[in-house]
């Protein structure tokens, strides 16, 4: 990795910190998706993952690539994540209406 981070001071948060944070978010999102049984929670996990990516883009733009592309990516991720969450929630609501449950274990009707 090219290492020409602009070190403006010791109090500045460095790129690795961002990356670590986003990695934690990513893992957390995965764990939530795997471990939680509530569908809403799983949707939240998705959001976590998406945001970790958005954070990465922003961080990389800030520290390495001084162009807008990363920031635009982050913006779009936020927007689309919202859209996705909206549709996801709509489907969950539908699911809830039918099953009266937002428990993921109830979504096992389709089996191989």
């Amino acid at each position: 990795m090219q290492d020409h981070v602009e070190d403006n001071g010791a109090n500045m948060i460095s790129l690795p910190s961002y990356l670590f944070l986003s990695f934690i978010m990513f893992i957390a999102g995965l764990v939530v998706m795997v471990a939680r049984k509530n569908i809403i929670a799983i949707l939240l996990g998705v959001e976590l993952i998406l945001n970790s990516a958005a954070l990465n883009f922003a961080a990389y733009t800030r520290f390495i690539n001084q162009n807008l592309e990363g920031n635009i990516m982050s913006l779009f991720i936020i927007v689309i994540a919202a859209a996705e969450a909206a549709v996801g929630l709509a489907i969950v609501i539908r699911f809830f209406q039918l099953k009266e449950s937002v428990h993921i274990d109830d979504a096992t009707q389709l089996q191989a």
Partner: protein, 722 residues
């Protein structure tokens, strides 16, 4: 005398055309068909006798006619391959042709009497015509492949004729047994042909002789054995099968299922002789392969063994069948001890008297009609005293019996005695030959005994089945019944063959030409073929040898004076011994069955175990059928078939479908079972790793998918980063 293929071919083609035409018309025009068959064989006889007498006129030992044409040609570029067919006629061929056509003609004529009332009267002649033409073609063949072809064709005919009465259950078994047993020999025969081809590049007899003379077989090996031995053995195995030698003799007695004239033709006079004929043709090869002792032993064992079995037979045809095997044994013994001439002579004489014997037996059987079962009777215990009812048949049969028993003045004595004499000579040279020669002498004694036993039981004494006897008509002379018998029985006199009345040169007929047989039939002089280079492919030139000086009879057969004297001496001893043996055999038979002074039952009870063994043919049929086939082959087949379909196909081939289905099940199992049980724990562990407390963790299906993605990615990354 200029024979070409087309002038010789009618011998074969006449009966063949008779067969071909008859095959289509036999249903509607039975009489025409029969007439055609008989006319055809008589025509053949005419052509064959022309050749025979022409050869007698030339009277040269090494005169032969050899003409070929190309059957098919596969040559391409540097790969030559060509298969010729053609004729090879030497003295032996001419004699065979004469004998086969003659005997066959007589049998045809007799059959018009014997088969007349048979439902398949016409069809019989169809087969017989084909059979005769095949036999004649075999005799004329100039190469081994051609021999093999007609050899097998005869096998087919005998299959058809033995199975002639196909509604009888036994006929199927017998015909199949005959075909299969001879086929065992044929397979070896074919291998012998292949071995010869690999060395000679041709299977023509003259080429084989030339190759032998040129030493082409020296140093050639197949399967680690000298090639001459392999080839000779292969061909001799063919003889064993076809000529019913030990251990493949089992089929011949069963061949009785066919009509009696066909027994006469096929299983006595001619077809079985083909085997011996082949051995004689290939004699130089056998000699080169060092097989003579083996051949002699086979011959001796067969001659003796079959004779012992014949002792206990009660069926008149069975006695004759075993006597055929036994006599064929003598011929083979003759081949083995180098008694080429005598072996061939025995072939001819035997053909004549055995044909006559079978026809006579047929005549007897045909006359004996059981009114209760509506069947012909061939059991000797029900006969007796038939001498009065059918005197002509009796006389014919008596002549032949005298001949086969080796009574002086008869043909059988001439030929058999010389074989035995030569066996003695061989034994004095090499002690190991004592075994076959002693067996031979013992067999001769038994022959005389059982043949006369048959005569006495059939024609002498009081009729044992009165009812049957009463119903038997007195024999009326008819041309197609008695003329053949008459002609054949006349030719049982030794003088026609030996040129001397006794067969031992004691009382000679004036002209040496009367000794034609001893003079003309000689071992092939392979040195005559030396100049014949290994044939390049593509010859069609005729190779009749131009001029020969008429041979003279060399009484010493090329031996030194001293040697010849020794041989003569031994021969005289042998003759004396065999005369004594023959008469003692006749005497004992007479004591038992004519005068009834000795009770045969005593011997039966004394040697009861042996008796049973003999009745069961030394258990060889049992060994083959019950032992090898039923206990070995068939279970093995069933096992293989089971493995093939029941195991291999079912599991190894169809199993793939099961494997696929199993994989499918596994996939499903992963989805369902593992998700519910194993993965829960697995997830739990991983989650605990992140210090998240999840007490009520229940992984839903979709979460399992996430886990899968995660694990897979982690796995990828892990492997890539290594």
């Amino acid at each position: 005398m200029d024979y070409t293929i087309s002038t010789v071919a009618p011998i074969v083609l006449l009966p063949f055309f008779a067969f071909a035409i008859n095959a289509f018309i036999v249903k509607k025009f039975t009489k025409v068909a029969v007439f055609l068959s008989c006319a055809a064989i008589l025509g053949s006889f005419f052509f064959a006798s022309r050749i025979f007498f022409d050869f007698l006129n030339v009277f040269a030992t090494d005169y032969y006619i050899h003409k070929t044409f190309t059957w098919f040609d596969l040559s391409y570029g540097e790969f030559p391959f060509k298969l010729d067919m053609g004729i090879y006629i030497d003295n032996m061929t001419a004699t065979m042709l004469f004998m086969v056509t003659g005997v066959a003609s007589l049998i045809h004529i007799f059959s018009t009497y014997y088969m007349k009332e048979d439902a398949r009267y016409g069809r019989f002649f169809v087969y017989v015509s084909l059979f005769t033409s095949a036999m004649l073609a075999l005799v004329l063949s100039e190469n081994l492949i051609s021999v093999f072809i007609f050899w097998e064709l005869m096998g087919f005919c005998s299959y058809s004729l033995i199975g002639f009465y196909y509604e009888k259950e036994g006929a199927g078994n017998a015909s199949m047994k005959a075909f299969m047993t001879t086929r065992v020999g044929d397979v070896f025969f074919l291998f012998g042909i292949l071995a010869i081809w690999s060395v000679v590049g041709s299977v023509s007899f003259v080429d084989i002789y030339a190759a032998l003379a040129n030493g082409a077989f020296d140093g050639q090996y197949a399967l680690g054995i000298s090639l001459a031995t392999v080839a000779g053995l292969g061909i001799f195995m063919g003889t064993i099968g076809k000529s019913a030698q030990f251990p493949l003799q089992v089929w011949l007695p069963d061949a009785m299922f066919g009509p009696t004239p066909c027994s006469a033709l096929i299983h006595a006079a001619t077809m079985v002789a083909a085997g011996v004929y082949l051995s004689l043709r290939c004699y130089p090869l056998m000699e080169a392969g060092g097989l003579t002792y083996f051949i002699a032993c086979i011959g001796g064992i067969t001659a003796f063994g079959a004779a012992t079995i014949a002792l206990v037979q009660t069926d008149i045809k069975a006695v004759l069948a075993y006597s055929t095997i036994s006599q064929l044994g003598y011929m083979v013994l003759g081949v083995g001890v180098g008694s080429y001439n005598a072996a061939f002579m025995h072939l001819i004489t035997h053909a004549v008297f055995k044909a006559c014997l079978f026809l006579s037996a047929g005549s007897v059987i045909h006359s004996l009609h059981d009114h209760h079962t509506h069947a012909h009777v061939q059991e000797m215990p029900r006969m007796g005293g038939l001498r009065k009812k059918m005197p002509f048949t009796f006389l014919a049969m008596l002549f032949c019996t005298l001949a086969i028993a080796g009574i002086p003045f008869f043909s059988g004595f001439v030929s058999k005695d010389r074989i035995l004499g030569d066996a003695l000579v061989a034994a004095t040279h090499d002690a190991k030959y004592w075994i076959p020669s002693v067996l031979g002498f013992a067999g001769a004694f038994l022959t005389a005994f059982y043949m006369f036993r048959m005569m006495f039981l059939t024609f002498f004494g009081e009729p044992r089945d009165k009812d049957l006897y009463e119903h038997t008509h007195k024999e009326k002379l008819s041309w197609n019944r008695n003329v053949p018998l008459l002609i054949l029985s006349v030719f049982t006199l030794g003088v026609f063959f030996s040129g001397s009345l006794t067969g031992q040169g004691l009382i000679k007929v004036a002209d040496k030409k009367y000794e034609w047989f001893q003079t003309l039939i000689e071992k092939p002089h392979i040195e005559n073929f030396t100049n014949r280079s290994k044939q390049a492919f593509g010859f069609t030139t005729e190779k009749s040898t131009e001029t020969f000086e008429a041979s003279h009879y060399d009484a010493n057969h090329g031996l030194s004076e001293e040697e010849a004297h020794h041989v003569h001496h031994i021969h005289h001893i042998g003759a004396l011994v065999s005369i004594v043996i023959a008469f003692s055999g006749v005497f004992i038979a007479a004591m038992m069955y004519f005068w009834r002074s000795w009770n045969p039952g005593f011997w039966v009870s004394t040697f009861s175990r042996w008796y049973r063994a003999l009745q069961n043919k030394y258990y060889m049929d049992d060994l083959y059928i019950k032992g090898i086939i039923q206990k070995g082959l068939i279970p093995f087949n069933n096992l293989l078939a089971f493995i093939d379909m029941g195991l291999y196909d079912r599991y190894a081939i169809d199993g793939w479908e099961k494997v696929n289905r199993a994989l499918f099940t596994v996939a499903k199992w992963v989805d369902n079972l593992i998700v519910d049980t194993a993965m829960v724990d697995g997830t739990g562990a991983s989650v605990r790793f992140f210090n998240v407390i999840l007490r009520t963790l229940q992984s839903g299906k979709i979460q399992f998918y996430f886990i899968m993605i995660f694990l897979v990615l982690a796995g990828y990354i892990w492997t890539l980063n290594i």
